[in-house]
Amino acid sequence: MDALLTPACCVALAAITAVEAKLYIAGIVALVSGLVVVMHRNSVIGALFLVLNLLSVAVMFALLDAYFMAVLQVLIYAGAIVVLIIFVLMLLNVGREPRGGPGLGVRLMALLLGLAMVFALVRAVRSFTPGSEDGGVLTEGYGTVSQLGEALFNQYFYPFEVVSLALVAAMAGAVLLAKRYLED
């Protein structure tokens, strides 16, 4: 039995390392692009790097077997939200933001606080140890459209409707705030 299993394990291991390598690359790309978004003074470039960031996260989704979510990430986030942001940037003709920001003290304090928080969070996530992982096999059809659709229209039917409520509120609100009034 062992003899049979060993090559299978080796193959699996090879596959896994491949996946992991891809994950590492995607993760680093995500971090770097995220950093550019935050640091760059030109908002348009920031937005473009946001797309890169979202796409690399989508790649990570796919590598984590969340195929449908990867697709949605590309479609909704990169496709809709960022496009909306870029549209507004263009509309307002926002370019480089003016110089001058917070003083050095504030920057330093924020950096320290941010590092402290990241440190705490990293410490927290490192404690993650799913108990039954060894020997566990992914559920049949994990991360597919059918599985998600089934969940959405069964258990998650009600929250799904609530999301629509939020979207309606946002829509009405956006129109209310951004539309030129008829009487103007």
Binding site: P102, M109, A110, L113, M117, A120
Partner: protein
């Protein structure tokens, strides 16, 4: 009447609503305003009298009613050890359900109900307070008709006065700490509203305080005391599982030996006392009372002399069984009261503002009441409260009468010789002065000297307390006669235009003065001290003590005290002994056997339960002599200084213009004052004043200023920039993460 006790505070409350709403919307003429207000107050008085009448004719007929409706009434007719009392719960107020209490009784754990009801209760103490509050209150309402006539805020004034009456009556009638607390906070609020009545007038030129500032100071200082009061109450609640006064007393009395001198009771007692110092203007929270004179004079008379400021004394008497079992707390009460009495008296001597002089006098007299309570003479303290209500109200109203006619000036240097124009005011003022200064057989003599005697002879008293108290009494006599001389004797020093319009106040005011003066004369006979009656060969004719003693008596304390001395730290190991009596008996025998302790003192204690000794006849005579001497010393000093001064001042009045004459005279008075209070005494007065202004006042102000400054500093963080807010959010997140993750 007793089941309808609610009507007593409701009547003035209704008056407040009517006068407030209708008056503010301009629907009432002044005439109807005071008609309604006085009627409301009078109604409270009538209801109170009816309740007292029913109470004094026995509670037995109420008992069957109680059986029908056990939740509502609680009746305990006068029997055996416990005094007659009655309480009625109209509705539940705060239902907090049951809780488990553990620890102090032999049964270990027990459940207590934390439900608080709208309870009013009635006993002899309540009866006396009700009559004083409603009676003096009504009189002052009547007086205000004359004093406030033509004031633009007529309806506002009467509305607040009615509200005050409602709150004060609630305070007195409240059957548990929370209901009392409503009145407690409510009178503070009304006091604030009425002090700030002339909101925009600068009332203290030196510091530029406006009346509104004075009101705010009073309110905040009171709130500090209130906080301590609430803490003490909550501690009681946690300990005894109830807010009900009677239940707490019974619980303490019921296991005297356990509670005697325990740390918990001492702590609670001290907290309650801090609450009382806030309301009753004792060291260190007295600072607001002299400033409170910014209010109209009837307010000073009613709130800051006769009723509200005595609430602290009333509360101490209400909680007397707690204080009996907390000798440490009682000692603090006595010492603080004694110090306040002396300290305030020294300051009273330095005042030219007649109302401020009276205010310091009030602080001083309140100090005597606390001294009385502190040495266990609760009856005498309450008695002094009653007599003080009469003579101090009369003094304040008399000063109001003077102020009204003397061009609305409070400055005694601008009075003089007023007895010619205002004979009734003068006569009543003089009678009250005699009373407060302790002229033999007048009310102040009866009550104050009784307190002093008890402070000397009570086992909880001390010679030093008596010495200081007597010293203060000399000063009392001095500053009061000083006021009389400066105001009514000598030559008039008023401005010309004032002198032309000097005349007696209207009948409605003098009538009230006369009634109050009669009270100052005769109320004393209700509580002739045993010593005094003995001097003239009568038995104990102290009606007051007879009525009140059962309410404030020390039940079981003697036994507990002696037990504590012999049985070790607390009664924990011995509290299963049969009854307090036998415990006491065994203690006595133990005493004799071992020769320990002070059997002599204990024997004396037994005689009077109240831990107060019987002085001998000779001692009584000596005390009487000292009292008379005190009175005469003050009178003599004052007449030497001020009688003289006024004559000499009159001689000095030459052809100089008014202003220069005035300046001269001021300087003269000052110099004479310097001569009189030569050396250390002057330094003492100045020092006391300086301490008042800098240390005590300063501490209160400093706390306020520091808070304000820190507010201004923290305000700078609110920059309006989203980014900075985000940094704070981040900081908070790190903080929470750090706390939670450790």
């Amino acid at each position: 009447m007793l089941p309808y006790l609610l009507l007593i505070p409701l009547a003035p409350l209704l008056g407040f609503v009517l006068v407030g709403v209708l008056g503010a919307s301009g629907l009432l003429t002044d005439r109807w305003v005071h008609r309604i207000a006085v009627a409301a107050s009078l109604a409270a008085l009538v209801f109170s009298c009816a309740a007292v009448w029913e109470f004094s004719s026995g509670l037995d007929h109420l008992v069957p009613l109680a059986e029908e409706d056990p939740g509502r009434f609680l009746v305990q007719p006068d029997e055996g050890d416990s005094p007659a009392r009655f309480s009625v719960t109209y509705a539940p107020w705060i239902p907090l359900g049951d809780t488990l209490l553990r620890g102090w009784s032999s049964t270990g754990e027990r459940t207590a109900s934390l439900t608080v009801g709208w309870t009013l209760s009635f006993d002899a103490l309540t009866a006396i307070m009700l009559l004083v509050v409603a009676g003096v209150g009504t009189l002052i309402h009547v007086y205000s008709i004359g004093y406030m006539a033509g004031d633009p805020g007529y309806s506002r004034f009467f509305a607040y006065m009615n509200l005050f009456m409602a709150m004060m009556l609630t305070l007195v009638l409240g059957g548990n700490i929370l209901v009392m607390f409503i009145g407690w906070e409510g009178v503070g609020l009304c006091s604030f509203l009425l002090i700030s009545y002339y909101y925009d007038q600068v009332f203290d030129r030196e510091s530029g305080l406006t009346c509104a500032d004075a009101g705010r100071k009073a309110f905040i200082t009171n709130r500090i005391g209130d906080m301590a009061f609430v803490l003490g109450g909550l501690l009681l609640l946690i300990t005894f599982g109830t807010f009900d006064f009677y239940a707490i007393s019974d619980a303490i009395d019921g296991s005297s030996e356990f509670w005697y001198a325990s740390l918990l009771l001492t702590g609670v007692g001290l907290l309650l006392f801090i609450g009382a110092t806030g309301k009753s203007a004792q060291i260190p929270l007295y600072v607001w009372l002299p400033d409170a004179m910014a209010g109209p004079t009837p307010v000073s008379a009613l709130i800051h002399a006769a009723t509200m400021v005595t609430a602290g004394v009333y509360m101490l008497a209400r909680m007397s069984s707690l204080f009996w079992h907390a000798p440490g707390a009682m000692l603090v009460v006595a010492v603080v009261g004694c110090l306040t009495a002396v300290f305030a008296a020294t300051m009273g001597m330095a005042q030219y503002d007649i109302k401020k002089a009276l205010a310091y006098s009030t602080v001083s007299q309140l100090g005597y009441m606390f001294l009385g309570a502190g040495v266990g003479a609760f009856v005498a303290a309450i008695f002094h409260l009653v007599t003080h209500a009469f003579f101090k109200a009369c003094l304040f109203l008399g000063s109001g009468s003077v102020i009204l006619r003397a061009g609305h000036s409070n400055d005694m240097r601008l009075y003089g010789g007023l007895k010619k124009w205002m004979p009734v005011t003068y006569a009543t003022f003089l009678i009250s002065t005699l009373a407060i200064a302790g002229f033999p057989l007048m009310s102040g003599f009866m009550s104050k000297d009784e307190i002093l005697a008890r402070s000397l002879f009570s086992t909880r008293g001390h010679t030093l307390l008596w010495l200081f108290g007597t010293f203060g009494a000399v000063m009392t006599s001095f500053y009061m006669f000083r006021a009389v001389y400066m105001t009514f004797h000598g030559e008039n020093r008023s401005p010309e235009w004032v002198r032309h319009q000097l005349k007696e106040s209207p009948r409605v005011m003098t009538g009230v003065l006369a009634v109050l003066a009669a009270g100052a004369l005769f109320v004393g006979f209700l509580g002739v001290p045993e010593g005094v009656s003995k001097l003239v060969g009568l038995g104990n004719v102290n009606w007051f003590e007879h009525q009140l003693h059962p309410v404030v008596a020390a039940r079981g304390v003697v036994a507990a005290a002696s037990h504590g001395e012999h049985g070790g730290q607390a009664g924990v190991d011995t509290h299963e002994d049969p009854a307090a009596d036998s415990a006491y008996a065994s203690a006595l025998t133990a005493d004799e056997a071992t020769g320990h302790g002070e059997p002599q003192a204990l024997e004396i204690d037994v005689i009077r339960e109240g831990l107060v000794a019987h002085p001998t006849l000779g001692q009584e005579w000596a005390l009487f002599g000292v009292g008379l001497g005190v009175f005469l010393a003050g009178l003599g000093l004052a007449s030497w200084a001020y009688g003289n001064n006024m004559r000499r001042a009159a001689a000095m009045a030459g052809s100089l213009g008014f202003v220069r004459r005035l300046l001269h005279r001021k300087w003269f008075v000052d110099e004479l004052y310097d001569k009189l209070v030569i050396g250390p005494f002057k330094a003492l007065c100045r020092g006391a004043d300086a301490i008042d202004r800098t240390v005590v006042d300063g501490a209160v102000n400093l706390a306020g200023i520091l808070t304000e400054i820190s507010g201004q500093v923290i305000k700078l963080f609110q920059t309006g920039v989203v980014r900075h807010y985000a940094v704070w959010l981040l900081a908070g997140t790190v903080l929470v993460l750090w706390i939670v993750m450790g």
